[in-house]
Subunit: 345 residues, 4 copies
């Protein structure tokens, strides 16, 4: 009889903690262990990351996603460098200028159709190389999955990394939704990161069932040389580290990362499928991960948001964004779609 | 029959989560709420802070203690300012230069006997006022309780704040162990912060039973004007904010903050009392909160550390530091003292 | 008989010192005066600036133009702010990221036809106001004359400042070529800065006959409150200040600023007029100050550059830039035009 | 008949331009040359520096001394590093926190008797090496001559550089008065920099007869890898570079650097000798370069300063500082000493 969804579609950050993650936290809550990461929980979590990504990767846990991006980028740059990204990138629009503030670098942003940038777009920036008046291109930063819910194909990633490395640059990946991308591509985590040439990865936890915590993973280990200091000076060394570590261990064990992401992705597919049936709604982006973008007549949007909050993405074209998460249910979708139908009719 | 303590004395950060805090996290884990702080859990926690500190204080939650200090200081300074502190201050020695890096300010540190600085020591810095070649004194930053386990008396705090305000300066308090100080002084939280003229406070959670989370509290509200941006750009806006908030609500309800701190303080007293009986051990600081400093003959230290880890504080005088926490038991102390006795005999 | 110009057209920075400026330096070279600006030469120069701009303006001298821009912008911003500018702006492309590095701000750049930005383009940035995830628009920065040799009309400047002030923003002007703009508009220096609502001005010296030196002028005096510290910490407080001051006094006396700029502008007109007669050359921008932009068939450019160096501005459309300066002669232009004719025929 | 000195003793920055330097500026003022350093004057000046310091040194000109120090230190550090210096160091007290602001590093300052630091004092900082909570010692920065007018002996410099290099650190020298030091030690410029293990040198011009301009010299060339970008982003790339270069060429030719410094030093000796004869004046530092420190009864100081300005160095012990310069005359000294005698009697 409920007509209001129990869980909304505003953001995968609005979801809570996956029960197995919370259980892992409780299990780790026994006795004293050394703070700041020199503890068995952290050792175990790093080991799991290495099982996924390779024995020689460097893994550092931080509190959150903006911290992970900013510190990972700092490790890859000098202040006179430029970081190239999509104009929709989280680092470009949703971090209140933290990347510029902390790295000193300029961000060079590129317009995109679906959140994905290409080598052709980056090429002209090479004209600046060697001229002291201009910032020097150093990092290509991409989001996987993108902020538009799309996913880079492995071949696209390889093109970007090959171009980067050929020109003395590095490939940084904001993997706040890396699990959703891997599931979408039916790939391992390594296959769409290390194996396609990514140098630094922000590995997201919170959007996939964790309470907090993000990992910065260096495939190019030389970049990690001083990272323990960068993390501490960057205010992102958790004192009770074991609880970040225990969460990651839960996520990386028994395929929980995959199960959660697969569920969210499938719910997005279902939502898109149902929305597509509504005459006044137009799906505006490929649904490749856990985001659904749709164009809805402007006059209904505020009313809908009051009934069940979500974000307007592009005011000008009346495009809105719906996100699913690990705990979205088919019933949530049915309720939400019914609510939209009622409101639009 | 156990001869090794179940819980160590290395750091209050080595303790886990208080059961009521963990319970509060679990209780908050229901359905979706808006991320980034616009949720009922955060509203409730802020309300509790205002019950403790006054209706008009501004309260912002961040991930951790270094972040709280650095961002609070940033809100109080311009880069050409100086921050005056004890040379033992956490901001001076234990934050890998984060305050300088993020605020741009110089730290002017003062030698102390017991971690406490005085107006007399600060006075000469006023000579620089108005001269463009010199950094301009702007903030006096103190730790309460101090890193030496001592506690500023309310009258000492009033002297510092009066001096600061008279000279166009502000008083910042690193309250990582503010609860221990309040208990030690038999005072309310407000009585040793707001009521004695503190302008900005880092209110600690992790060292008093929380998993993570710290609050920046502005008594001078004008300093908070842009703080929501400073926090986000400072990479310290938690996405799933409700879980920080729920922890603080647990800590500030039913006197849990006081119970935890009182227990830790009393355990420190007990430990000091027992240690004082050992002929070769000399208590080297007043025991006013949850830290015990002692001088132990150098030759025994490494051996003891192997048996139950703790930190050497001052290599030169063979001074070590023991910290108690909310979960320290009398049995832990008995075991630890016995271990020391055995080792030293 | 000479076929090579005595003075080139690559940059007004390639010119030397105007004889009267050099004379002023020599005249100031007598005995000792207090360093760092507390000297009669500086007092006199500031007085002259106030005669031009009003009694209550704040005037600070710095070493160079990038320093002037960066420090003026710092005085007008907090790190979470955004600075809006043309994508051709000097601060955006020719200062190696110094504005981001020193202010912490993000630069939001806009595409332009002729180096000039409009209120309509800036309007969408207001959507971000109040949202902590996004940088907050704070400064509109324009170049007068622009990097494309065009000039903002007073009415255009008024529109920008009115929009800025209405929305809690400030108008910054990079006046590296402010004299050329004033001459072009037949206006006083004040008429196109203070009187149209500019808040902070970088007043250029080097491109108009000085050896080095730039002034940061605050029409909104509250912005200058801490600027003496910002300048010193910003490494731009000249020790032997009198020699910067003496140069400015020379420039601002006897209309030297105007004479120099008027000459450079008229030489640009002449150059454009002569170039326009060459069949294969197309003038590509309005010639409103001392810059001439032209499209020349690609195949001739490198050869021409070898004979008399100048910069390619836009590789893609084969557009080059010629700058005239206070010391350009009609003979220089005749020689240069002849050289182009010979090369292109 | 004059009783007031023509030139004061407040600062070597209060002196003007040496006639030969001014002449070199005028000589360089012919026609156009490429801006920003790609010109024959700069080529010639760099060549002269290489004749003095070795063929393989990297030489970069900047506007001023604080810029030189800050950018040289930036080239040698990461933000989590510490820079160790005397508490009297210019970088520590006279640059308004610019080193912290621009490098992000913490400065660790040491008390000294005569402005000189020793290996023994630095040793304890090594305890922090490898611990992420602490800034990492990276640079030892010394002033030669020191701010107290004393001079490091070559053997002292060798001890510092050997210690630095053995511990993965670098030796930075603030050589604002390097010429005075070389003259004092009867050494070549190379003998007290490169040959004793200095890695980065700020080579001062303004205090030895130049109008403005300082050089950053890298003996460890790897540090200069990105310096052209650091200098530009650091706002210290002069546009009309030729005029900095021409000044340095004058200074480094015909021993002008040595003649000027030798004269200033000898005048300091004379001043000290004459002051020592005055009963109430006590010379308080060794006079090894162009600074004379003296203790004068407090009650006379303000009166003297009004008659001929100089700076109080240490209020507490009533110590004042007198500086001589390239243009100080014996008559200046006679007049000044007479004035002091009259005032004190």
């Amino acid at each position: 009889m409920s007509s209001k969804p129990r869980r909304g579609f505003a953001s995968d950050n609005n979801a809570g903690i996956h029960p197995k993650v919370l259980e892992a936290i409780a299990d780790a809550n026994a006795g004293h262990v050394i703070a700041y990461g020199d503890d068995p929980y952290t050792e175990a979590a790093v080991k799991l990351f290495r099982q996924h990504f390779g024995k020689d990767v460097e893994v550092y846990f931080v509190f959150g996603g903006t911290g992970a991006n900013v510190l990972g980028l700092k490790a890859a740059t000098e202040p006179h460098h430029a970081i190239i990204c999509a104009d929709t990138a989280h680092i470009n629009v949703d971090e209140c200028g933290a990347p510029e503030r902390f790295t000193g670098c300029k961000l060079l942003s590129l317009p995109t159709k679906a959140g994905k940038i290409t080598v052709d777009q980056i090429l002209p920036f090479l004209d600046a190389v060697g001229f002291e008046h201009h910032v020097q291109p150093r990092v290509i930063s991409i989001s996987q999955a993108t902020e538009m819910g799309t996913v880079y194909q492995p071949r696209e990633l390889k093109q970007l990394s090959a171009f980067a490395h050929k020109n003395g640059m590095l490939l940084h990946m904001d993997g706040a939704r890396i699990a959703n991308a891997a599931v979408s591509l039916k790939a391992t985590l390594s296959a769409i990161t290390r194996e396609v040439g990514v140098d630094v990865l922000s590995f997201g936890g919170a959007k996939n069932g964790m309470m907090y915590g993000e990992a910065v993973i260096f495939f190019d280990r030389s970049l990690a040389k001083d990272f323990k200091y960068t993390r501490k000076q960057g205010t992102h060394l958790p004192s009770k580290m074991r609880f970040v570590s225990a969460q990651f261990s839960a996520l990386l064990s028994n395929d929980l990362w995959r199960v959660n992401a697969a569920h969210a992705n499938s719910m997005a597919k279902l939502l898109a499928q149902e929305l597509a049936k509504i005459p006044l709604v137009e799906i505006s982006q490929q649904v490749e991960s856990n985001g659904v973008f749709a164009i809805i007549p402007k006059k209904y949007i505020a009313k809908l948001q009051k009934l069940s909050f979500f974000y307007t993405w592009n005011e000008q074209i009346s495009e809105v964004r719906f996100m699913t998460s690990f705990d979205t249910t088919a019933e949530d979708i049915n309720d939400f779609v019914a609510l939209i139908k009622r409101t639009l009719s």
